[in-house]
Amino acid sequence: MKPPNDNPSSGSFSLESSRPKVPTRILCVEDNDGDFRLFQLHLGDSPLKPRPSLQRARTLSEAAELISSASDQSGPFDLIVLDLSLPDSAGPATYFRLRNLAPETAIVILSGTTDHELSLEMVQHGAQDYLPKDTLSGDLLGRSLLYALERQRVRMGMKKLNDQLQRTTCELQTTQMHLIQAEKLESLGRLAAGVAHEVKNPLGVLQMGVDYFSNKTATLGGNAELILANMQEAITRADTIIHDMLDFSRSDQLKMNLCNVNELMGSSLRMVHHELLKNKITIIKTLATNLPNVRVDGAKLEQVLINIIMNAAQAMPSGGPLLVSTFSAEFSESSHDEGSRDLERLRSGDEVIVLEVRDHGSGIPEEILPRIFEPFFTTKPTGEGTGLGLAVARRIVELHRGRLQMTNMTSPTGVRARIVLQPDFSLSPQAAPSIPQAEVPTVQFI
């Protein structure tokens, strides 16, 4: 930082990087005509090259207008020279308002004799400099403005770096989370196969035992029937967990077929029909016609839908409406699928097919929302939830290069679950087998 030798008379400091190739654009906010003319004069005397372009505002609101139209047209001002006492604003507030209006612009305070102290304070709050009106000269002004520009440039550079750093840190954290999650899933997969073999045979023995005694409840008498029913439930529960775990270890083996999403929705609903009936759930279907097909493993996708539907039903313990729909849409990222790994396939704007299930339950508390896809994360009592439903569901959907999006809804509260899939155009919807329209009532009460 040394003054260049070829221009000693300027007394100003200059840096190659900050030397403007286009005129510096300055906004002077000053209500006093005399003070403004004086400033204009000094600016003319200053060694700033090329000659800066100067605009003037007499009030803060006029300044605001100029700032906003400038940033619309030619980009923000490089520099604002500010008198703190204006007709429509006075004191520190003037500076802070302007700072907000032009966060990226260097601000230099023009101070009268009475407010040097205040000006100094403004410098501590991010103003680049303050210039006393009474002792102003071309040289002083030029040097101050150059310094101000340079400091602001460095400051913005630092801000940019800092933003970048924060973004990178955030990305790192997300990646780390994914890695941990992926590892968890993988070891779970390995474990599942082992556990399945070791546990299913004993379960098979128990099952045969229950079947054996089930034929003999009459001779066993008393509570035999109840006890056998409880044993059967325990076997089923243990079996369910193992099945869910197995779905991890095996879910990479997909049997892909062209499927009609309305049929998938229909068959899934049929499979849980009794459960829904028992829970007084009313199904309201809105299925789009003529949707392109999807290439998916139908049985697996049904499993995903069933998991989602059962969650929705469990979220409405005293019953209520369940809105299921299918439609095509433009893909857009939802904020709650940060865990998705396969980001390269679906892009915002892609045409996608959506299978949606909405409930009117109480929604998912914000603090657990980031955890719902974790294997074994559940808020339900033992026996009711294994915490594997959504973990399996998301894994399956992602293996299809799709997305599973869970979003809280307000008024009425509830959860919106979306399975987002890519359409497969290799067969036109007309050519593909599909349910005749008459069999798909738009609204069905069960």
Binding site: H197, K200, G204, D211, N215, L246, A299
Partner: protein, 129 residues
Amino acid sequence: MNKKRILIVDDDIPLTQSVKINLEETGDYNVLVENRSANAVATARAFRPDLVLLDYIMPGLDGGDVCTRFRDDPFLRDVPVIMITALLSNGEMGANGSVFRNGHIMVAKPIKLQKLKSCIEEQLAGVAT
């Protein structure tokens, strides 16, 4: 009415015992258990089963190996085989709880007696027609 002959090949002794008892108590079947997969072919040749229940994961010869030997055997090649495996998940099974894979009906453990029976009857009927 003559009972159908069923051979169970599975290394798990308590499991095979209880399956045998349950199937025989229905009065429809005559069941023989073979717990060593290496002996499966010899036992089957002697027993002449109408149907074989075959475990998939076994020490030594696994279910797939045993099945291949049955298919290579002139006396056993047409005997229907139901594979029973611990490694099937819900997502891989059809609505009726079984799946057809690599030429076999596969069912998942633990299987309920009711389901096992209907699966056996289905297979036996398939051979009869």
